[in-house]
Amino acid sequence: MRGFNVLLQKEFREAWRSWKFLWIPLVFALLGMSDPLTNYYMMDILNAVGNVPEGFEMLMPELMPLDLIQASIGQFQTIGLLVMMASFVGAVSKERANGMATLLYARPISFGAYFLSKFVVMSTICFVSILAGFGASVYYTTILYGTLDVGALLVSFSTYYIWLLFVIAVTLMMSASFKTVIATTCAFTVIFVGQIIDMIIGIFWTISPWKLASYGIAKFRGTIEMSDYWWSLVITLALTIICIGIGIVMMKRNASMTKI
């Protein structure tokens, strides 16, 4: 792990100076606050927009605080993931393509250290982002709908974070393995097509990393088997470690692809 601290410092500097620590959490915060606000003020919004026929009455479902958190997680799962993956997918491949990696690869660094330094920084950005997202969601949910169970929140937050670690590991692995365009296609396919498949025919299985995002809340509601939750968690963590391992090997193998 030679040079890990130095490379970690470099990655943190990059993330900080390219404002990633600001704008990605900001996107998540906006996504987090959107559901509690739009749901609560839906009638007002409809009335303000107009075009509502006279005598029209819409029955709004009675939402519980946990429903709003679940809805926010749904937002993170689409736009949030898209933003996060798009900003991370070139982390290795772009550095290789534009030659910035050359001056690092020609030094006696450990590829494991370099890959992990990127993974740690991205994980930190993700942590801050979902903290901002959950924070915004919880704040407006609490004000508008009532208090949330702290235990449920912590479980759903931690479970969702583990899912995000898997997403980062897949994204980085693809970036280390392919050129940016191919890496983007492959990473998006694995994560989003995986989600769609899980949505369409996911009733046939109960253990999958793609289910983990919703399992945090479901676990608290008692709508899933505990063993399914734990197995999904273990498999996700195992796959994350495997992706990291493959990513390191591919980063080393593709070092010669760096532009000289």
Partner: protein, 294 residues
């Protein structure tokens, strides 16, 4: 002199094409060697294998008594830096990654930046640097850890004449302290700061030796004789000689005429002879001859 680096049968093959074909050479300590060749000769591929960026198809590289990667400094032809870092941060990072202790790294980075003339802008972000400044920063990151071997890929080819002169002067300063292997196709530069020449063509090392040795092998003794007038020059010249103004250019072909024959002709001629000069072939002329021979 102690041999620092041994390159033995180094080969790189992409599909059926051998880009570098079984080259052998040694680098002596504290010497400067130019890797010369036209575009596509295999210079960059050779340097990439020496840095460890490319795995050779065959052959190996031995740095005597040392770990190669820890003891080299490398400057690519178009170095790309992380633009959000300052010159000091980048050079300090380079030092630390090469094993310089964290406490010492900053001081070494500052000293090196002063040496390359970037002391005043060490806290500026690299994004604001010009091409010449980036090249000097490239040298700074390559030498900050005091490597035993400095590998430079076309270090001045992308620079304007002022930047080129600055970088060449810097490299001349380094010649006393470290071993330098650099690739170039600008032969004037090679002539200026080279102890050994390696001519690469189509991936093969077609000629090597000191500048003097190579000159002896390829430099034919041509002469230029300056007469008092253009008319005298024309009267003296044979049909095989070139006459330009008052000068007669005598080309030695198959060792004819010999020096003795030439002196005899000159002593017998009735014209005013202002100057007799032996013409030394430029490295470019030698390079063309080597290329033809290969």
């Amino acid at each position: 002199m102690t041999t620092l680096l041994q390159v033995i049968g180094l080969t790189k093959q992409f599909a059926e094409h051998k880009v570098v074909d079984a080259i052998h050479f040694n680098l002596e300590e504290k010497t400067s060697t130019a890797l010369i060749g036209p575009n596509g000769a295999g210079k960059t591929t050779t340097l990439s294998m020496l840095t460890g960026l490319l795995r050779p198809t065959a052959g190996n590289v031995k740095m005597l008594g040392n770990d190669l990667r820890a003891n080299i400094g490398f400057l690519p032809q178009y170095p790309q830096f992380h633009p959000w870092l300052t010159a000091l941060e980048f050079t300090e990072m380079a030092a630390k990654l090469n094993g310089v202790a964290a406490k010492k790294a900053k001081l070494e980075a500052q000293k090196t930046l002063e040496f390359v003339g970037l002391g005043d802008v060490q806290h500026k972000k690299i994004a604001s640097f010009s091409g010449g400044m980036k090249q000097r920063l490239g040298i700074s990151q390559a030498i900050v850890h005091k490597p035993k071997l400095l590998l430079l890929d076309e270090p001045v080819s992308a620079l304007d004449p002022v930047g080129r002169r600055e970088v060449l002067d810097l490299l001349k300063g380094l010649q006393q302290e470290t071993t330098i292997l650099y690739s170039t196709h600008i032969l004037n530069d090679a002539e200026e700061m080279t102890d050994q020449l390696l001519f690469l063509q189509n991936g093969k090392l077609v000629e090597q030796g000191t500048l003097r040795e190579v000159r002896q092998r390829f430099d034919e003794q041509n002469y230029v004789i300056e007469f008092g007038s253009e008319e005298e020059a024309k009267l003296f010249a044979n049909p095989s000689n070139h006459v330009i103004g008052c000068n007669v250019y005598i080309e030695i072909v198959n060792e004819e005429p010999t020096m003795k024959m030439l002196l005899q002709r000159l002593s017998e001629c009735p014209y005013t002879i202002r100057k007799v000069e032996r013409q030394t072939a430029s490295l470019e002329e030698i390079f063309m001859k080597v290329a033809k021979k290969a």
